[in-house]
């Protein structure tokens, strides 16, 4: 059959249906890739593009045969090596190797599993669609927060750090040496210890936590899902463990742990107190008001984040005494050093206003102590401001920026924050003005090149 013979033109239904093909460019996807790009672009050039990506655009066609031969040979050798190693399926391992201070602050897996080295040793493997933030931990503790998805943390062979904490919602899983898999299921998390041991603390559990050994599994409540005055939920349970084995302070009867594992959606009613919702929406003043309407039992609030929220609310309402009482609970509580340091700083500010110099000195000293040697604290706060800015939570940005200025007056992020605030002001001004300025869409239809075009076979 000659190549010159014009082929029959197939007609397909989708060609008559303009909307048959899916648009893959969702705004979320575009934003997600841009945030990756932005990070890469603003990083140092040497770290910016892997060598494999540094080549200019595809080479000239005359050089291709020899290149193809060489590439084919190299590919053959590579494939043979791969076959020899007998690896059927392995997740992608990111390079280069970890560097303590340059380890990423966010670990994320897009459409394929990803494995990242952890600072201090060990690796974290993320299932597709999973996100883990690196947050500060006290001392030599690495603290990670599972934002969504499923992750496997392995700390075997890690020597540069004492332990790893994995936060899931308000629950915390701590492991020193071993590996564990944890999945965020909304109100609960499913945890399986593969080897070693892990200690689990939940928002409702006791301070001691529950120790899990190899092959132990547990479904862990990760957030406060009942109203303030409701009895607290149970601590995590190991399947097969009897009711009396668990430390249930409320003494309430619980359903079978196995039942809970089989049906995660039935495990907890998703009732979040209104004041907590207000906290999550950064409406601190409203949070205080709603908290008071809900009984206002400050002693029942244990979460440092919620306490900080209430403290901020009292501050917003110019109620210095209440704010101080709330922040003091954070300072003397079990929150991270960062939270305690921030609360101490707030107390410095409050007591300065109240003229109590001895307390000012005391909390300033405490703040210095809690912040000492924490090389990432400024960076973490800067990162937090960044993420709040990306989410357009202007109030939170301003508040955190103010905190940063107080805490790190000579911090590296100061200039960035200034620019960010300027951008924020510009955007607010723009939104207050006519909308036509920014409402213009990115219409850019792919321009058709006008040419007389025969069918493919018509040449």
């Amino acid at each position: 059959m000659s190549d010159d013979r014009p082929p029959r033109t197939l007609e397909f239904s989708w060609q008559d249906e303009p909307t048959a093909l899916r648009d893959h460019a969702s705004p979320e996807r575009i934003d997600r890739v841009w945030s990756r790009l932005e990070r890469d672009i603003t990083t140092d050039d040497d770290l910016r593009v892997p060598d494999a990506l540094r080549s200019p655009r595809p080479r000239g066609r005359w050089g291709r045969p020899s290149l193809a031969l060489a590439a084919g040979f190299a590919l053959g050798v590579g494939v043979a090596g791969w076959l020899w190693r007998g690896s059927a399926e392995r997740p992608v391992v990111m390079q280069p190797a970890p560097v303590q201070n340059d380890a990423p602050l966010v670990f994320a897996a897009g459409t394929a599993p990803r494995t990242y080295p952890l600072p201090g040793g060990g690796v974290i493997t993320l299932e597709p669609g999973s996100i883990v933030d690196r947050v500060e931990g006290p001392g030599h503790e690495l603290q990670l927060r599972l934002v969504r998805g499923e992750a496997t943390v392995s700390t075997r062979g890690a020597t540069g750090r004492e332990r790893v904490s994995l936060l899931v919602g308000q629950a915390r899983v701590v492991t020193a040496a071993g590996s564990m898999r944890i999945r965020h299921d909304g109100d609960t998390a499913f945890l399986r210890v593969i080897d070693g041991s892990a200690e689990v603390k939940t928002p409702h559990g006791d301070q001691k936590g529950l120790l899990l050994g190899p092959d132990d599994e547990a479904r862990v409540p990760v957030r406060v899902v009942t109203a303030q005055n409701d009895p607290p939920r149970s601590t995590p349970r190991i399947p097969g463990e009897t009711e009396t084995d668990t430390d249930d302070e409320s003494g309430t009867t619980e359903e079978s742990p196995l039942d809970e594992m089989d049906d995660p959606t039935a495990s907890t009613p998703a009732v979040v107190p209104a004041w907590v919702k207000a906290c999550n929406e950064y409406d601190f003043a409203a949070a205080v008001r709603l908290f008071a309407e809900n009984g206002g039992d400050l002693a029942a609030v244990t979460d440092p984040g919620h306490l900080m929220c209430l403290g901020d609310g009292h501050t917003a309402r110019k109620d210095g005494q209440q704010a101080a009482a709330t922040y003091e609970r954070v300072v003397h509580g079990t929150g991270s050093d960062t939270q305690r340091a921030l609360a101490a700083l707030e107390l410095v500010r409050i007591y300065q206003g109240l003229g109590e110099t001895d307390k000012v000195a005391r909390y300033r000293e405490l703040h210095t102590k809690l912040s000492k040697g924490r090389v990432h604290s400024a960076e973490a706060l800067c990162q937090k401001i960044q993420s709040e800015a990306a989410a357009t939570r202007a109030d939170a940005v301003r508040k955190l920026a103010e905190r940063y200025r107080l805490q790190f007056p000579n911090g590296a992020c100061i200039q960035t924050i200034q620019q960010l605030l300027a951008q924020l002001a510009a955007q607010e001004e723009a939104s207050a003005d006519d909308e036509g300025d920014d409402a213009r869409g990115d219409e850019d239809p792919y321009e058709e090149v006008a040419e007389e075009e025969a069918s493919p076979g018509g040449e």
Partner: protein, 244 residues
């Protein structure tokens, strides 16, 4: 009316004069970016201050991201790794902006990088399949390819066509996909494939013949659906040659 996109971003070490620029001028510069042509944005991305470069990069990205995502997904037949491909393509494009001669051709240049990247992936997975290694290749994800509005017929056709395309060499598959799925004209297809018009026609023709031979058309010549038993006659009537 609420604002839609925040577009807040951070820049490392911005110049001081930028920081102190009046708000109104910053706003107008942002609006001006949206109105700039690709050539102007490329120039700005090459020669501007670090802040201007980042803004130009973002403007170029947001303008052409949809094109790149759809291009990659439709060539691959699935959305697996599409974000990685697009990310790498933009990164490579931004890294090599100095090599772009025709500044107005950023889009097709970017497209050629996406196509090149997809071609490498397709060829790699094809080799792996030949050796019986690793995964059998990305499966055709028809739900990812088609929208909810697609008719059952269109979905079935796309599924069948993509299954056939998977067996074709990467070059032929890409050329045909660009031409008949993405809907580019021949010149645009040739530009994206970074090859001559004659070459791209040859590739499309090869793929077309193969699909003609193997595609099971469930419609008769009047557009009515055929039953499976009639397809042999229909197929033989229109078959013009062997494929592989």
């Amino acid at each position: 009316m609420p604002k839609t996109t925040p577009n807040l971003r951070l820049v490392k070490s911005p110049p001081k004069d930028e920081l102190e620029a009046p708000t109104s001028s910053r706003r107008s510069s942002r609006a001006a970016l949206l109105e700039m042509g690709d050539d102007q944005l490329v120039l700005l991305a090459r020669e501007g201050t670090s802040d201007e470069q980042l803004r130009a990069h973002e403007a170029l990205y947001r303008r052409h991201a949809a094109f790149a995502f759809n291009l990659a997904a439709r060539i691959a037949g699935s959305t697996t790794d599409v974000e990685d491909v697009v990310h790498d393509a933009f990164l490579r494009a931004f890294d090599n902006l100095d090599n772009l001669r025709n500044l107005q051709a950023f889009k097709s240049w970017l497209g050629s990088i996406v196509v090149h990247s997809m071609r490498s992936r397709l060829r790699r997975s094809r080799w792996m399949r030949l050796f019986g290694l690793g995964h059998p290749g990305d499966p055709v994800d028809i739900d990812a390819l088609t929208s909810e509005q697609a008719s059952p017929g269109a979905r079935a056709e796309l599924a069948q066509v993509y299954a056939l395309l998977q067996t074709l060499p990467a070059d032929d598959r890409i050329a045909w996909t660009l031409r008949y799925v993405e809907g580019h004209d021949l010149k645009g297809t040739a530009d994206l494939c970074d090859c001559s018009l004659a070459t791209v026609k040859r590739r499309i023709r090869r793929a077309q013949r193969y699909i003609e031979t193997h595609f099971v058309d469930h419609r008769d010549d009047d557009g009515r659906r055929l039953s499976a038993t009639k397809r042999g006659a229909s197929s033989s009537k229109r078959t013009s040659g062997g494929a592989s």
